[in-house]
């Protein structure tokens, strides 16, 4: 942290004041420009497009008023898609955080070759999610996939049968895609919680031990509350990522059969191929949903207290 700038006791001439107040722009201006053009402008274009009548080749036919939102609302698949999105986000993020809490605790212990073991955890983070999703699709192949080979050997599934066609069944497909979603979210979440664990000083635990707290009690009473900022940050980032996750569903089922394994993100992508305006409307709704969900989550967890603490 720097020291406070000395307060000016005189009032410089106008041009000097303007020059002074513009100086930060030399340093932060390029960053603002990049954010404005790449991140903010597309939001404006997106909202604008959602009120336009756009042909499938991208040509604007004219204004559309609310008709894109209207046809989106009457899309028969919409209700299921939104419902599935909520389940997808809650299940994937919830399970990810729970497993990560345990993993972080385990990998925070001292043991030989800890560094190598921790590095292995990074694998799903380093490999593209696209590839991880494709490996699972491959391993779930009803005729030759490794998962089915193992389950067949255990007598649980018959190779080539309907039960071996996991991705052909919407419910099982969703379960497997959630497993992939959790798998690729674990490294970041675990590392974020590990980082949080390292900020907790050992003295706190010693004090708890002196007071006679067992390790489980110490975990609930000390570790978890002190981990709150790390858990909040990790959960928020995961909610945003999982909500917008595209490659897992796209590569494993393309959202089908029908829209039965689609979330709002893949639904938007499918709509985009023919109905650009309606797809833009879906994006705007998606966008508002993310913001509402994140704000509700931050409010529910009283994040300000955690940050101020």
């Amino acid at each position: 942290m720097t020291t406070q700038q000395p307060r000016l006791t005189y009032r410089p001439a106008l041009h000097k004041r303007v020059a002074l107040s513009l100086r930060p722009l030399v340093w932060i201006g390029p960053a603002i420009a990049l954010i404005a053009v790449v991140v903010l402008l597309p939001v404006v274009v997106l909202i604008h497009a959602s009120f336009q009548n756009i042909a499938s080749d991208g040509f604007v036919v004219g204004g559309a008023g609310w008709s894109n939102y209207n046809s989106l609302w009457h899309e028969p698949a919409l209700k299921g898609v939104v419902f599935r999105t909520v389940i997808w986000v809650v299940a994937v993020v919830g399970v990810t955080v729970l497993i990560s809490l345990a993993l972080a605790q385990l990998f925070n212990q001292r043991f030989p070759f800890r560094r190598a073991a921790r590095t292995a955890l990074i694998a799903p983070w380093a490999a593209s999610v696209l590839m991880t999703a494709l490996i699972f699709r491959w391993a779930l192949d009803p005729y030759s996939g490794a998962v089915n080979v193992i389950l067949h050997a255990l007598g649980l599934v018959k190779m080539g049968s309907n039960t071996a066609d996991w991705l052909g069944n919407p419910t099982w497909a969703l379960v497997w895609m959630m497993i992939v979603g959790i798998f690729v979210s674990l490294p970041f979440t675990t590392y974020a919680i590990l980082a949080g664990l390292q900020t907790i000083p050992d003295e706190v635990y010693e004090a708890a031990r002196v007071d006679g707290a067992g390790s489980w009690r110490a975990y609930l009473a000390i570790t978890l509350p002190l981990l709150r900022p790390a858990i909040l940050v990790a959960t928020t980032i995961n909610v945003i990522n999982v909500f917008n996750s595209f490659p897992i569903i796209w590569e494993m089922t393309r959202g089908g059969p029908g829209y039965e394994t689609s979330t709002t993100t893949t639904f938007m992508f499918i709509l985009k191929q023919a109905f650009i305006g309606e797809s833009a409307a879906m994006s705007v709704v998606n966008f508002l949903l993310v913001i509402v969900v994140v704000l509700l989550f931050l409010r529910a967890t009283r994040w300000k207290e955690a940050v101020d603490a």
Partner: protein, 297 residues
């Protein structure tokens, strides 16, 4: 475990050591043993899908769809024939996009982070809030907007992808670098300036070298994110010929309407993942501290 127990029992039996210490020793060892075994098992579980990826890439053609865990022998033909599908061009394209995005992020993020760390200017918190807010936005959520905006700009697809990847990875770089610059005492720069260095000279010779760990972390994170990015690449590289598409799009295009070229798909995935593993190995120790800096400050 039995060997450890036997050794401890023998020590107790011989009576040469104080019993209390031996007891402690045993519980610690046993706990440590369980922890190690559990941790290694989980680490292996995390690697398993990628082992399967390598095995699939090494399957000989006639055993590609054989229902077994391991083929009778391995074949490297997928790794030699993949280059005729234009995969070399895909690697170069992704290298350009990820390298370009990383360069833009560093050029833009270093001055912004340095100034925000050193000065309390009007609009500073507004700027940092703006940066934080972009972390809540994902390209997938505004794909239609990105596609329409960049098609009206009429830029080459590579340049568009460089800008998009730079824009969406800027937030993390600014946050982590602001934390790093804040942790470097301003006195070090002042000392250099007393010794005759200019302000930029002090920045270049003192501050930036000291902030190198943070810069390298930001650089690698940006590179990996751009290298692995899929949905924007898929959308903006629509018009490009196959051998000029980014890696992820090329790998996706091995999935045909009726059949999938699994051999080349996984060989390409293995080749594409190797640089990322090397980069992550470089920063492994810093991932934790990087996340602390990024999340707590």
């Amino acid at each position: 475990m039995s060997a450890i127990t036997t050794a401890v029992d023998a020590a107790v039996g011989s009576g040469t050591e104080p019993p209390r210490r031996v007891f402690r020793q045993r519980t610690i060892t046993r706990r440590g043993f369980t922890i190690s075994v559990l941790a290694y098992a989980i680490a292996l579980l995390f690697l398993l899908p990628y082992a399967e990826m390598i095995i699939a890439a090494l399957r000989p053609h006639d055993q590609l769809l054989a229902p077994n865990l391991l083929p009778s022998h391995f074949s490297f033909s997928n790794f030699t024939t993949i280059w005729s599908t234009g995969f070399g061009g895909n690697l170069i394209e992704s290298l350009e996009i990820a390298g370009g995005a990383t360069g833009v992020v560093l050029l833009v993020a270093i001055p912004a982070a340095y100034y925000s760390a050193r000065h309390r200017f009007r609009g500073r918190s507004l700027f940092l809030l703006l940066v934080l807010a972009t972390q809540m936005l994902q390209p997938a959520a505004m794909l239609v907007g990105i596609q329409r905006e960049f098609s009206s700009f009429n830029l080459p697809a590579t340049l568009s992808l460089i800008l998009v990847n730079a824009g969406f990875n800027l937030a993390f770089a600014v946050w982590i670098l602001t934390a790093y610059f804040s942790s470097i005492p301003v006195e070090l720069e002042e000392a250099a300036m007393i010794d005759g260095a200019s302000r930029l000279g002090a920045l270049g010779r003192v501050t930036i070298p000291l902030a190198m760990p943070g810069i390298v972390t930001a650089l690698i994170f940006t590179f990996i994110a751009a290298w692995n990015e899929f949905i924007v690449a898929l959308t903006l590289s629509l018009g490009l010929p196959q051998n000029h598409q980014p890696l992820t799009v090329a790998i996706n295009s091995y999935i045909g309407e009726y059949s999938v070229d699994w051999g080349h798909l996984f060989a390409g995935s293995v080749i594409a993942t190797i640089p990322v593993i090397i980069l992550f190995a470089v920063i492994e120790g810093r991932v934790v501290s990087g996340l602390t800096a990024g999340s707590i400050k």
